[in-house]
């Protein structure tokens, strides 16, 4: 039986985190399945557990001066119901599990779990989200894209907690979110896609594209986006084959029980193609 801690304040949590190697437990929806041992048995955690889902400091969601701040332990359901939540993030949260899971699961858990298929990662990546990582010795803010180093691996230190996610509310003319799974509810992603476009005066003024579940970490390329930005809309169809070929080099999917590499790559490239060539509706 492992030791567990249920601090009342963030400060107390950070102190425990600095003194004990422990696993932070936010909503529990991934951890309780990962350490599940079956009916009647306690979950088989292999290190002390730090419950953080109850901390008031981590469960606030608010908009201020055009920036949305989401506490790491705000359940998906609250993000869905927040009126400022961008549509692509709302849709991603609505397609995670089902309502009862959305009442428990949190974006902090989704991010720190660092699954290549984590469903909040593509929308948060195109939103240029920053993560606040706190420890007793201070805090640092990092871009979500620099947070992941591989499947299940992040730059979060043993003494740190992810406390909040924040981003500027976007102003784009076209947005797109797609989750490709086996069924609508309770599905894990085979491929997921989030993107924004800003069209101005027949030009592509801005574009952001992110893909999930097709590489060790979320795929987003500022370089390829820059090759499209500033181009006349009428030239996009002509430019696209070359851009897709370059995306193809970044998309390195695996074959597993959910899907195979070839399918994932084909679908990912078609999602980009369909989105870029989509008429404003």
């Amino acid at each position: 039986m492992v030791k567990s801690y249920r601090p009342r304040t963030l400060e107390e949590a950070l102190k425990i985190r600095s003194e004990t190697r422990c696993i932070p437990y936010a909503g529990g929806t991934d951890l309780m399945v990962r350490y599940r041992r079956g009916a009647g048995l306690a979950a088989g955690f292999d290190q002390p557990v730090l419950f953080i889902g109850q901390l008031a400091e981590l469960t606030q969601i608010y908009e201020k001066n055009g920036e949305l701040t989401i506490g790491a332990c705000v359940p998906y359901r609250e993000i869905i119901h927040q009126r400022h939540t961008p549509e692509i993030l709302r849709q991603a949260c609505e397609l995670i599990g089902a309502p009862a899971v959305q009442n428990l699961g949190t974006p902090g858990g989704n991010i720190c779990n660092a699954s290549p298929a984590g469903d909040t990662l593509p929308p948060l990546s195109v939103l240029d989200a920053n993560l606040t990582l706190q420890s007793l010795s201070g805090e640092r803010n990092v871009s979500i894209l620099s947070f992941f180093t591989g499947p299940g691996k992040t730059i979060l230190r043993d003494d740190e907690l992810l406390t909040a996610i924040h981003f500027r509310l976007p102003h784009f003319t076209v947005e797109g979110y797609r989750k490709v799974g086996t069924r609508k509810a309770n599905a894990l992603s085979k491929v997921s896609f989030a993107a924004f476009m800003l069209k101005e005066k027949e030009m592509l003024a801005d574009i952001r594209i992110a893909l999930g579940a097709v590489a060790p970490t979320v795929v987003r390329s500022r370089e390829l986006e820059n090759r499209l930005i500033g181009q006349p809309l009428t030239d996009l169809a002509k430019l696209l084959p070359e851009i897709l070929e370059s995306y193809g080099k970044l998309i390195l999917p695996i074959t597993d029980q959910r899907s195979d590499a070839n399918y994932r790559k084909t679908i990912a490239l078609r999602l980009i193609e369909n989105f870029v060539l989509k008429e404003e509706s």
């Binding site: 567990s4 249920r6 599940r36 079956g38 009916a39 309502p99 009862a100 309770n186």
Partner: protein, 158 residues
């Protein structure tokens, strides 16, 4: 390492000394004989273990006992004493929404979680609300009918 954990179960404060990493599902069934809370999949997919935690529908197989200190847990056994339950019960019965009955407690709680916030749901709202509840008997249509019937009859009871 056992710890003393206190929470409110169906309106009554309870306290137990136990392993905080036990699943709420097991605590409810084994320590409090709440056998209306069922185990189906044990991984948050089937909804048979649903309970209300601080009024929100959750899968009790995904909840560690240690995480609910001070919180309110309500199970089907308590919910069945409410007027809202009786409307849903009669509607499920009339629509043929219950066959083997294993998914029923979860379906009833999911139906209430929907109707409380959306008393006039459309078919898509209903299907989304029970999307985390698996039923292997009815093919779902009769459960959807049951919830639609409950919505029609339940005016003002949610």
């Amino acid at each position: 390492m056992s710890q003393i954990i206190q929470f409110t179960l169906n309106g009554t404060p309870v306290s137990l000394e136990s392993d905080p990493m036990r699943r709420l599902l097991d605590v409810l069934r084994d320590d409090f004989s709440e056998t209306g809370v069922k185990e189906g999949c044990g991984e948050g997919e089937c909804g048979a273990c649903s309970v209300f935690l601080n009024g929100k529908l959750v899968n009790s197989c995904l909840v560690a006992l240690g995480s609910i200190e001070g919180m309110n847990v309500e199970t089907i056994v308590h919910f069945k004493n409410t007027p809202a339950y009786r409307v849903i019960e009669q509607a499920f019965s009339d629509a043929g929404a219950v066959q083997c009955g294993f998914c029923t407690p979860g379906m009833v709680l999911a139906a209430y979680a929907l109707l409380k916030n959306n008393p006039h749901p459309g078919e898509n709202d209903i299907r989304e609300a029970i999307s985390g509840n698996l039923c292997r008997c009815t093919g779902y249509n009769m459960i959807v009918d049951g919830i639609r019937l409950a919505a029609k009859r339940g005016e003002g009871k949610w």
